[in-house]
Amino acid sequence: MEPLRIHQGIVCPINRANIDTDQIIPKQFLKRIERSGFGQFLFYNWRFDDEGNPNPDFPLNQPQYKGASILVAGENFGCGSSREHAPWAVQDFGFRVIIAPSFADIFKNNTVKNGILAIQATEEQVQTIMKKAETEGYTLTINLEDQIVYDSEGFKFTFDIAPYPKEMLLNGWDEIGVTLKYEEKIAQYEQSKQLVHTK
């Protein structure tokens, strides 16, 4: 996983609340057995019409948001299914940061595992960004170490993130590798318990 320390990028707004994982990546694209290649299907039913032509009204199709790497959206982003295909699609499309007033729990967990920073901002901050992002090429900078978001016009805010996901993102660690260092404790735990076998 690629470490994320300071990220600068163009902001793409999707001004909707409760964007669920069925919208982020519809089920017909969950059948692949690979981790890569999901970006082409991101927001598929919103991005394309029934004939597969791009919908010109959808922000991801608008030239001014080409190359955007910061997604800003309404509250409860990523609600619904646990499918990690959703953050895989977000990341594969080129997004590294998502800013929203709130995120669904499972989705938020999944972002960290994929090197995506999910920033919880206030409703007001999100609306300010939505407005500013109407200007072509609007760019934000995120400094994860200092937990700040800012632009070149003096707009700036700090955000909260728990120490553990912060450390994972900053270092781009393989979490399993970290956990396996506790192998002995896991084994001790197993010896102390009665576990019900599935076989």
Binding site: L30, E84, I186
Partner: protein, 472 residues
């Protein structure tokens, strides 16, 4: 004296392998359920890093999402087939027990876990599926995880998890006649919204919950995630123990009685506190129908579809407007006037034997409305067999329903069971998101009884007065 604890805190504390400042807890996982859609990349990750499955004997796999429900063993979609075959290969390679499509234990992962007695009070249970919350009905701490976490559990049998905030959803009083567990959970989500449970684990308490069968408790816990809570559970009691007694993976004889003593001690202590408490009056709950594009957008059968102009906030107005447009509904129209094209009885929310029995009672001797296509998809092979033994299949097919094989089916349409664009379905499943049952498909969530009644009437109808009505 030790401080009183709720069941969530008790189970959590029993599973902490390692705790240190600035880190989440390293939590042990007792049971890892696996299905074909969210696991292939996890197994691939293990292979790439030369890692093994730490505890195949605490892991159990099934095939459900992609499984065809007409001709079970003929998977026409080559990509679906590849996912099914890949799971079989992975289970063989890593030594994981698998309920293959051919196996009598096969079915929807959240139906077979309890059926086989793998789901037990006090366990930590995970699965790469958000409806893992279902298993909470047994007093287990059960939640959905992503594929990276699936890989992590396969490799280490643990997860790093920050201790959750706990919430008590208190259900006061009893549900009225004809009002079901499904109506209760929809009413809870309707009242408190689709994110009231975000960051929390819920314990459901109260008289209405205590009176429920295990099947009904599973329906309630199943939809915790639709209210934002990753897990929702119910303290175990005699109903729980009676359900489990004699099941395949449950201890037998004296060992069972010992297990029951352990399980009883899990129940929330008198005076235990929660980070949040909300209340709902069961006596006021009516049969529910969703009108919009998330499960919180639901109303009683006696109500009218909302008008965006009545919303206080501009954002809400926009959201209601967009939902009405997608659903093809008029603001203010009675929900009972809405005609349907399809009925789906199935899914991990409502596909158990008692669900099918209740739906069958409604339709016995009646005919599905000529403009409606109706299907029943039992939750597991075992539910299907049991239903056929009672002749329920005959009740459904005589009425004009299709009687299918077990699987997730039309809940999410990963197999070929899809609703065409613009058509409307009364569905016993859990999500009415845009496109959930097919691009452009319009989903209304209801109880099995309400779905059955709608199938006969051709539109939504109050099941409490339905049998007395002239049907045509």
């Amino acid at each position: 004296m030790e401080r009183p604890k709720n069941i969530i805190q008790k189970i959590w504390e029993q599973h902490v392998v390692h705790r240190e400042e600035g880190k989440p807890d390293l939590l042990y996982i007792d049971l890892h359920l696996v299905h074909e859609v969210t696991s292939p990349q996890a197994f691939e990750g293990l292979r790439m890093n030369g890692r093994k499955v730490r505890r195949p004997d605490l892991t159990f796999a099934t095939m459900d999402h992609n499984v065809p429900t007409r001709q079970r063993l003929v998977i026409e979609d080559p990509i679906s087939k590849k996912q099914i075959d890949t799971l079989q290969q992975n289970c063989e390679e890593f030594g994981i027990p698998l309920a293959h499509i051919h196996h009598p234990d096969n079915g929807i992962v959240h139906v077979i876990g309890p059926e086989l007695g793998l789901t037990q009070p006090g366990k930590t249970i995970v699965c790469g599926d958000s409806h893992t919350s279902t298993h909470g009905a047994f007093g287990a701490l059960a939640f959905g995880i992503g594929t990276s976490e699936v890989e992590h559990v396969l490799a280490t049998q643990t997860l790093w998890q920050a201790p959750p905030k706990t919430m008590n959803v208190k259900v006061k009083g009893k549900l009225g006649k004809g009002v079901t567990a499904k109506d209760l959970i929809l009413a809870i989500i309707g009242k408190f919204g689709v994110k009231f449970g975000t960051g929390y684990i819920i314990e459901y308490t109260g008289e209405a919950i205590r009176e429920m069968s295990m099947d009904e408790r599973m329906t309630v816990c199943n939809m915790s995630i639709e209210g934002g809570a990753r897990a929702g559970l119910i303290s175990p009691d005699e109903t729980t123990f009676e359900y489990l007694r004699g099941r395949k993976h449950v201890p037998q004889g004296k060992a069972f009685e010992e297990a029951v003593t352990r399980w009883k001690s899990l129940a929330t202590d008198e005076g235990a506190e929660y980070d949040a408490v909300v209340e709902i009056d069961a006596t006021e709950v009516e049969p529910q129908v969703t009108w919009g594009t998330n499960p919180g957008m639901c109303i009683p059968i006696s109500a009218n579809v909302p008008n965006p102009e009545d919303a206080d906030k501009a954002n809400d107005r926009e959201e209601i407007k967009r939902a009405l447009e997608y659903m093809g509904l008029e603001a203010g129209q009675p929900i009972s006037s809405v005609k349907i094209d399809h009925v789906f009885i199935g899914s991990c929310t409502n596909s158990r034997l008692s669900d099918l029995r209740k739906a069958a009672e409604i339709i016995r001797g009646k005919k599905v409305h000529p403009s409606v296509k109706a299907i029943v998809v039992p939750g597991s092979f075992s539910v299907k067999m049991a239903a056929e033994k009672e002749g329920l299949d005959k009740v459904f097919t005589d009425a004009g329903f299709e009687w299918r094989n077990a699987g997730c089916s039309m809940c999410l349409g990963m197999n070929d069971d899809l609703i065409p664009s613009g058509e409307r379905c009364a569905s016993t499943s859990n999500r009415n998101f845009e496109g959930r049952q097919g691009k452009g498909a319009r989903t209304h969530l209801v109880s099995p009884e309400m779905a059955a009644a709608a199938a006969i009437a051709g539109h939504f109808v109050d099941v409490r007065t339905f049998s007395a009505q002239e049907v045509g």
